[in-house]
């Protein structure tokens, strides 16, 4: 078996095994649908609502991606400020940690009231708030731990601060940045769905989940969970792909 087939086959087999175990566990324990739907129950749900799944998935996906994008920009900026200035780092850390410690489920109703009716904006805001923290922390650590020799090598040639940042500090921080981005991707999905479920406004997979709950369509609820997992995997691998392009050098060959 060569590398590529192994990389594709191994996860598919793992997924099939888990689904098989799930199916068997429901059948063996003779669980009714409302306690646990089995994978075979989900197929009719997907078939019946496939157009809704497409629309709602897209609503969830784009708002998550926009929220994540803002988290990347703001997180990187905060990380840069904290990475380059010790004063900013010491001043901002407790603030950031405190903000991050607030459960975002409690922020959702506040945001929903503050910007009433602005559903897309609110959802993106929560997705952003929940996912920028790891990015800010990792960028600031990456920049503040840059060895002085790296800076000196360019500074001794008369390079500007921006050149040093662009040619050395930024690329050197990329591995940490992508590590944080992988965490942030899943967090952003949590943020989007929190908004969609806690403050229902008829959009996204969270809404589909809610309608399943209200109409006692339990297989639909489980189907939504599966769709969310699928989107999460999709976005995660987009990040992995970007990481390979921009920070592939950090990966050491296995010896």
């Amino acid at each position: 078996m060569n590398d590529t087939t192994r990389k594709i086959l191994a996860p598919i087999i793992a997924i099939l095994l888990v689904l098989g175990f799930w199916e068997w566990a429901v059948w063996y324990n003779d669980l009714p649908n409302f306690r646990m739907a089995s994978p075979s129950d989900l197929i009719p749900a997907f078939v019946r609502y496939w157009d809704l799944f497409l629309i709602k998935s897209w609503e969830t996906l784009w708002r998550t991606v926009v929220g994540l994008g803002i988290a990347v920009i703001v997180g990187t900026l905060i990380g840069m400020v904290m990475g380059f200035s010790r004063l900013a780092r010491e001043g901002l850390y407790p603030l950031l940690v405190g903000f991050n410690a607030i459960p975002k489920a409690t922020v959702v109703p506040i945001v929903a009231l503050m910007f009433v009716g602005q559903h897309d904006f609110n959802t993106i805001l929560i997705a952003f708030m929940i996912s920028f923290f790891p990015i800010a922390v990792s960028v600031s650590i990456g920049l503040s731990t840059l060895e002085p020799e790296y800076r000196d090598i360019l500074r001794s040639l008369g390079a500007s601060k921006f050149t040093i940042f662009w040619k050395i500090a930024l690329p050197k921080t990329l591995p940490e940045f992508f590590g944080a981005l992988k965490v942030a991707v899943t967090l952003a999905f949590i943020g989007t769905n929190l908004m969609e479920i806690v403050s229902p406004h008829g959009r996204g997979l969270g809404d589909l989940f809610d309608s399943g709950r209200i109409s006692a369509d339990y297989p639909l609820m489980f189907a939504v969970l599966l769709a969310l997992a699928f989107l999460g995997i999709l976005l995660f691998y987009v990040v992995v792909f970007l990481e390979k392009i921009f920070a592939g050098w950090a990966e050491r060959g296995q010896s």
């Binding site: 060895e147 000196d152 090598i153 500074r155 001794s156 990329l174 050098w249 050491r252």
Partner: protein
């Protein structure tokens, strides 16, 4: 104006610490003419690295002046090349791209094609032929240091500043790189300021060795290394070299406060009566490798 390539005039410098100012350099003056290779040795923490940062313009002295090529140094200058103990290669670039880094900063009369050709030529010179497209992680420590040397001279600097570049290498790799330095100098002469802890290295590489005193440091002793012609490692095992090493070692001990000038080895003792039993028999200036009992050929005995 200054007739020297590197000149320090009465430089005094202190670092600010929480416990008050820490004086490092005290009225240090030194002059290095063009194309001279100058090594600076001294006790640990005597301000040798501070010296490199002052000469490169990364720092400005509290008092005194630093001149490079007839111009007063007030900020970093692109006519300087630097290499450190840590080769600091950028892992996301290939070796060739690493070596070309200064060309992206410095305005140079060389075209990109010329510079690339030069980079390949330098790689050949230091023995890294065929490694241009490798990543730093694929190279050994000695090879990385070779690449770092190429990077420090790619832009044809007037002045090369080396801050213990061979300090972290094993003894054999280090000796290899010393010879590489001589090859490079033969190919294109440059003025060099080398900071080192290794007395043999200073004698083998430099035209002039400056011994710094303990902190706050001034130039305590200057030794002119008179070994004409291209040097080989065998030159280190001659009476002449051993005498120089003994003198340097003594001066370091004076700097450390462990000896006084009165204990100095007598330079006027003729060779056959050198009062150091470790000096090789002058009848056999080049002892055969591995000769038993001849401890003078092991580096540890000399340092």
């Amino acid at each position: 104006m200054s007739d020297y390539m590197i000149e320090l005039r009465d430089v005094t410098h202190a670092y600010k610490t929480d416990a008050g100012p820490l004086p490092v350099l005290d009225h240090l003056s030194l002059q290095i003419p063009e194309n001279r290779f100058c090594a600076v040795v001294g006790p640990s923490g005597c301000g040798k690295s501070t010296l490199t940062r002052l000469v490169s313009g990364l720092m400005r002295p509290n008092k005194g002046e630093v001149w490079l090529h007839g111009q007063k140094v007030t900020s970093p200058r692109p006519t300087v090349g630097m290499a450190f103990q840590n080769p600091v290669l950028l892992e996301w670039r290939t070796i060739l791209q690493n070596i070309m880094l200064p060309m992206e900063i410095v305005k140079s009369p060389m075209s990109k094609a010329q510079a690339t050709e030069r980079a390949h030529h330098l790689l050949d010179l230091v023995g890294l032929t065929g490694f241009a497209d490798k990543r730093p992680s694929e190279l050994s420590g000695g090879m990385r240091q070779r690449a770092s040397l190429c990077r420090s001279i790619i832009h044809k600097p007037d002045v090369l500043i080396l801050d213990e570049p061979f300090g972290a290498l094993d003894a054999f790799t280090r000796e290899d790189l010393w010879c590489t330095m001589h090859d490079l100098r033969e190919e294109e002469p440059f003025t060099c300021l080398l900071i080192t802890h290794d007395l043999r290295e200073s004698v083998f590489l430099a035209d002039q060795v400056i011994v710094m005193s303990d902190r706050p440091a001034h130039a305590q002793y200057v030794l002119d290394v008179d070994l004409p012609g291209k040097r080989t490692l065998d030159d280190l095992y001659t009476v002449q070299a051993v005498k120089m090493l003994a003198t340097l070692r003594h001066e370091i001990q004076v700097a450390q406060g462990r000896a006084t000038a009165a204990d100095a080895p007598d330079p006027h003792v003729p060779d056959p009566h050198v009062p150091d039993r470790q000096v090789p028999d002058p009848q056999v200036p080049d002892p055969a490798p591995g000769q038993r009992g001849d401890k003078s050929t092991t580096p540890g005995a000399l340092q």
